[in-house]
Amino acid sequence: MRTLSLLSLVASSLFLLACDPVDQGGASSENLALSSGSSGGQALSGTSPQAIEIPEFEYPENVAIELERVIHVRNLNGILERTQETFLADGLGNIRLNVTGFSPDQAQAFATPSTMLQMNYLNQMRFMVKYRDPHLGAQTALLHNFTWTEDAVPVQVAGVNCIRYTAKSLQRYGDVEFLADAQTGLLLGWTQFDASGAISMKMEATSVNLSPSLAGVAWSVPLVAEQAFSGPNDFAALGYEPMEPAYLPAGFYQEEAWLRFSGPSIPGISNMLVKVYSDGIHLVFVAQANEATQHLGLQFANRVTDVFESDLGGIRVAEGSIGERRLYVASLLSMEEIETIFGSIYPH
């Protein structure tokens, strides 16, 4: 009983820390953003950002739309590469994301993208729309981890009057800007900054069509079977008991978990568990799977290998093994955070 009391005291302290006093009516009006730097007593001007509550956006995949846009990504050499995309959605859950041009910097004209890049888009488009493009997560996290401001002066994006919202990361993971239609909240642009304030990734719409012709569009479909992972009940379906990180960056929580069934497309790997952690905007993937000993013909007992890490187009990734368990951590966060998360999965 003493143990139970202690557990509950600790749990209650944790819970109180995260508790979000949401109004019973569900309205967010009472959840005013913290804004220690710009609230209370500061004279408002026509150009000064104003502290606001958390905005609500309409995401393009939720409306019928044809969106031409450019993605900027900082590569290993510090250069912002550009990719042209066409995004299509029917507002009923179907999406299509095509890559239509690539430029290695900010100056050169767009050229036809390589076959490899087109294949990557074909394989990843569902995940890119869901995870690469920022989406606001739990309100508790958004309040705890960010201060929110909006610019008083609208900006034009693809001919649409938009409001620029800035989420300043209190944990210093990098601020994020959003450009949303002033009338509808449709997200037409975003910029993710790294901790130093440099642009990591940016999207800007160049044309918007809210009455697209969607006849004949080959909508994206899952390439492998997936299902939500609900915890111990799904251990049997997963085929093993997953390892958990003992460390997460401050302010992060588990947003979702899903199980990806292996098959011929991923030889030598068992079913994969992917957990998505978020601070409300920034994401961390922690994935794991068992390597098939039959496939590689090796013994894995007690195997601990070096952890390989690299920067893949602005995303830091680490992968390594504990015995037959292959682990992966991927995020826009710093490599130091990646290493800390990865190391925390290892046993003492």
Binding site: V10, L17, C19, M116, G231, A287, D306, F308, V317
Partner: protein, 158 residues
């Protein structure tokens, strides 16, 4: 978006009771002390600091005797049993998977990871040997995960 872990919905009264707790925060170093000294699986063997209850009381602004043998009895007044049961359910589940978000509640009710000392972070990093490699040396799965977040290698356009 896939649904997070399935957990039973809390009764509305319990959810309301929990919301009524407001923005009370635990002592900031509580989590750090727990995290540094013990893993989650060993929490059951750890004795709480003697002054913990007094500090929690001070935060709540209530004068209630520390529970003796009964969980949180009287701490929330007349709603103690319902709130305590909710905390047991939520807290217990959170302890076993500390980062999970209970989907029985609104997705807004999440447990956020606390600050971790630099020494603890260094200790975690020291458990593995990290080797920087070129993107091509990473596996297709790593590339796929990076691609999901928008990271493609320059060579993907070669």
């Amino acid at each position: 978006m896939s649904q997070p872990s399935h957990q039973p919905d809390l009764p509305q009264q319990i959810a309301q009771d929990l919301r009524a707790l407001g923005g009370v925060q635990a002592p900031s170093e509580l989590w750090q002390r727990v995290q540094e000294e013990r893993s989650f699986t060993e929490l059951g063997e750890v004795a709480a600091p003697e002054e913990l209850w007094a500090r929690v009381q001070a935060e709540l602004g209530m004068e209630v005797a520390a529970p003796q043998g009964r969980l949180l009895r009287g701490i929330f007044g007349g709603k103690s049993l319902a709130a305590a049961a909710a905390l047991l359910i939520f807290g217990g589940l959170s302890i076993f998977n500390p980062w999970s978000s209970p989907s029985g509640l609104s997705q807004d009710f999440v447990v956020l990871a606390p600050q971790t000392s630099e020494s603890a972070r260094e200790a975690f990093r020291s458990r593995a040997q990290f080797q920087k490699v070129t993107p091509q040396e990473m596996s297709s799965i790593s590339r796929g995960l990076a691609g999901s977040l928008g990271g493609f290698m320059v060579e993907d356009d070669a």
